[in-house]
Amino acid sequence: MENLKKIMVVDDDPAVTTLLKTKLEKTGKFIVVFTNKGKLALELAKTEKPDLIVCDIEMPGMDGGDVARSLMDNQETKDIPILFCSSLVMPSDTKNGMVGKQHMMSKAAKFSDILAKIESMLL
């Protein structure tokens, strides 16, 4: 296998994590690991060392903000880029996939747009 990029998906809805895993792995460019519990995200990131993390925002328990903070506070994970993927935002809310300084995509966005965003973040 020529170097596949590893993506980690954090979303409490199993429907979403399965979808992203299926679609992203189908491109032949990625391996996907995921968790449905925000509080397991940090440990998973430490062991899996993904190239990029796709993270939901509204989750029970630890939400996306908490997850991102825990990742940024940790020496081993602080440099992993995070793409927030949320149904809180609509496609029109984001400019080039950015809200403020955060990379953010709407769950209602086309998959091809999400894919393009992920690829541009991995360049």
Partner: protein, 646 residues
């Protein structure tokens, strides 16, 4: 005994000298001259108490206090501020930061001594409390664990304890009479134990508030009559008579007759065990040859409620009067667990009612239950009686439904086959996952009941292979319905089964009613759907990414269950006022629907999910309800076309 450590933080040598003189004999005293070295000292060598000056060069006493209190390791060390008399009013600030006390300068040795001593004692007492609390929590955890084991793990071996005697007894001609009797005793004890486990499971759910009540109008009079009949050996032995009274519309109280009906909103099994407990207690507590009176009062004109009073002439012992309904409260009754009245109370509360006890030497003991009234019309009663007796046909089913039952336990297979003895069903048996899979591939089945734990191939593997095989067949009209049978009944296992590809989940041991209902659920609904579908010529086409084709069936099950959860909350409330918490749950479910549908490409459904989320945030009951209906309709009315998206 070791001396306690006290850290003195002060930049004035004169003060340090006084404090060291005052405390040096009784305590191990160390000194820090400024704030930051104090924090360092505390980190490396935590003292039992800190005397802290406020005005110091560098960081002041307040800041030292704030930093120590915000660190988990040091926040429990008591801090006493040393403050000039003129600063006393500022001391509220220190106390707000978490200091326990303050002493004023000039320092009075006796006051310092007394306060230090007090706070050290307090600290020790608190630590002791925390330690005991910790032990208590561990014990509670252990008890819950043991409860859980007894509820879940005992059921499976119990199945064979109950079933093996029955198998042996089939050959009873080869057994001696006393052997037959012993086997029957084993079987009976097994049943008693199973009932206890089931009751404790239901009670556990009621305690946690997760018991799913499905109340229906039922005639409580017939329930009570059945209990009285079932208790006849006990009542005969004590020569107890029953007096069953009821009030009529004019509020005259008279003896209940055979054709009387007394409607209560409840669950039959729950009401049976609740009243059985209470009536049995009344019989046991009553003196011999007396009468137990059960009075049923319909208070519909006042309160929409009914009141049922059970009276006996015995008196509740003084020692348990105050905690009569508490868990594990027992009188001198031999072998009593103290769960009878407790469970009765729990059940009454679960049914939305109340239970009270009054007792006195003069009047004996009366248990009064208040329950919800329900209207029963007589035709419904006779119909339900009829349907209870004649469940031998399933009229709504298409003829010849092909059913397979998979279980490695031969006895379970026989029982299930007996339960499924309907003329409409064509039954085949398999004793493990592999042989089930082979039969499944050879012949199309409509419905499969599958055990989870089996040798050769377990239920999980079998169902995933079946699902894969189904997806490879292009000409299949619809997939088989596969229902899991499992000895575990926690929501995790249940969810896992549904995730893996089962359509539904039944917890063992199952009864014939559950089997029948689960068949009707799937096949009656499908017929209904087909009816409505055929009427609607126009269907909304949705284009979905063909990569997702395999995921769509389980995705739809997920989403439908989320919709059902919202419906359940709406139905349960019966009024347009939901609790804050219910709105929150609906809001979250709406959010999930929105996100899921949008991502999979169901834009219309995603936007309805968004409307539900919005309406729940604004506590708009009607809009939630309308949109849930809209969402259901829209799902029934879509046709998915899979397209390739680059």
């Amino acid at each position: 005994m070791n001396k306690k450590n006290i850290l003195i933080v002060d930049d004035t040598e004169a003060n340090i000298d006084i404090l060291v003189d005052t405390l040096g004999d009784d305590y191990e005293v160390s000194v820090a001259m400024d704030g930051e070295s104090a924090i360092e000292d505390v980190r490396t060598n935590p003292p039992d108490l800190i005397l802290l000056d406020i005005m110091m060069p560098g960081i002041d006493g307040y800041e030292v206090c704030r930093r120590l209190k915000s660190d988990k390791k040091t926040k429990n060390i008591p801090i006493i501020f040393i403050t000039a008399l003129s600063q006393v009013e500022d001391e509220t600030k220190g106390l707000k930061l978490g200091a326990v006390d303050y002493v004023t300068k000039p320092i009075s040795p006796s006051i310092v001594k007394a306060r230090v001593e007090n706070h050290l004692e307090l600290k020790q007492a608190r630590e002791e409390l925390e330690r005991q609390n910790h032990i208590l929590q561990e014990n509670i955890h252990l008890r819950e664990e043991i409860d859980r084991i007894s509820r879940h793990d005992l059921k499976t071996p119990l199945n064979s304890i109950i079933s093996i005697p029955r198998i042996l007894l089939q050959d009873s001609c080869r057994l001696a009479p006393d052997q037959v009797e012993l086997l029957e005793m084993i079987e009976q004890s097994g049943h008693i134990m199973l009932n206890m486990i089931n009751l404790s499971l239901d009670m556990f759910k009621m305690e946690k508030g997760s018991y799913k009540l499905n109340p229906v109008p039922l005639n409580i009079l017939s329930v009570i009559k059945k209990i009285i009949f079932d208790l006849r050996s006990l009542t005969d032995a004590k020569a107890i008579k029953f007096n069953l009274l009821i009030n009529d519309l004019a509020n005259n109280i008279r003896v209940a007759s055979d054709c009387d009906i007394f409607g209560v909103l409840g669950e039959e099994l729950l009401c049976y065990s609740m009243f059985a407990n209470l009536i049995k207690n009344a019989v046991e507590a009553s003196p011999n040859s007396e009468t137990v009176t059960i009075k049923l009062l319909n208070k519909i004109f006042e309160t929409e409620q009914v009141e049922i009073a059970i009276h006996n002439k015995g008196v509740v012992p003084l020692s348990i009067r105050d905690n009569f309904f508490e868990k594990y409260a027992t009188a001198e009754k031999k072998g009593g667990t103290g769960l009878g009245t407790y469970s009765a109370k729990l059940m009454a509360q679960t049914l939305g009612g109340e239970i009270l006890m009054s007792t006195s030497e003069a009047d004996g003991t009366t248990i009064t239950l208040t329950l919800k009234y329900a209207k029963i019309d007589r035709t419904a009663i006779s119909e339900s009686a009829a349907s209870n007796q004649a469940i031998s046909t399933l009229p709504q089913l298409p003829p010849q439904l092909r059913v397979m039952v998979v279980d490695d336990d031969e006895y379970n297979l026989l029982i299930l086959k007996k339960y499924l003895n309907y003329p409409e069903l064509d039954i085949e048996l398999a004793d493990n996952g592999q042989s089930a899979l082979n039969k499944f591939k050879a012949r199309d089945f409509d419905l499969i009941f599958m055990d989870m734990e089996m040798p050769v191939m377990d239920g999980i593997e079998a169902v995933s292979l079946m699902r894969r095989w189904e997806s490879e067949q292009s000409n299949r009209e619809r997939n088989a319905i596969v229902i899991a049978l499992s000895g575990h009944d926690d929501s995790n296992t249940c969810q896992n089964c549904l995730d893996i590809g089962f359509d539904a989940y039944l917890s063992k041991p199952v009864n014939s009613r559950q089997l029948r209902e689960s068949i009707l659920q799937f096949f009656k609904n499908q017929n209904d759907n087909q009816d409505t579908n055929s009427k609607q010529h126009h269907k909304n086409q949705v284009e979905i990414d063909s990569d997702l084709e395999d995921l769509i069936p389980s995705f739809m099950i997920d989403k439908k269950s989320e919709i059902e959860q919202i419906e359940e909350i709406i139905i349960k409330s019966e009024s347009p006022f939901l609790t804050e918490n219910s709105y929150k749950i609906i809001q979250k479910l709406g959010h999930k629907l929105k996100g899921g549908f949008n991502m999979y490409g169901f834009k219309e459904q995603g936007s309805i999910g968004s409307l539900i989320e919005e309406a729940a945030r604004e506590h708009d009951f009607q809009t939630i309800k309308n949109n849930v209906d809209l969402l259901k309709n829209s799902l029934n009315n879509i046709e998915i076309r899979y397209i390739t998206i680059d």
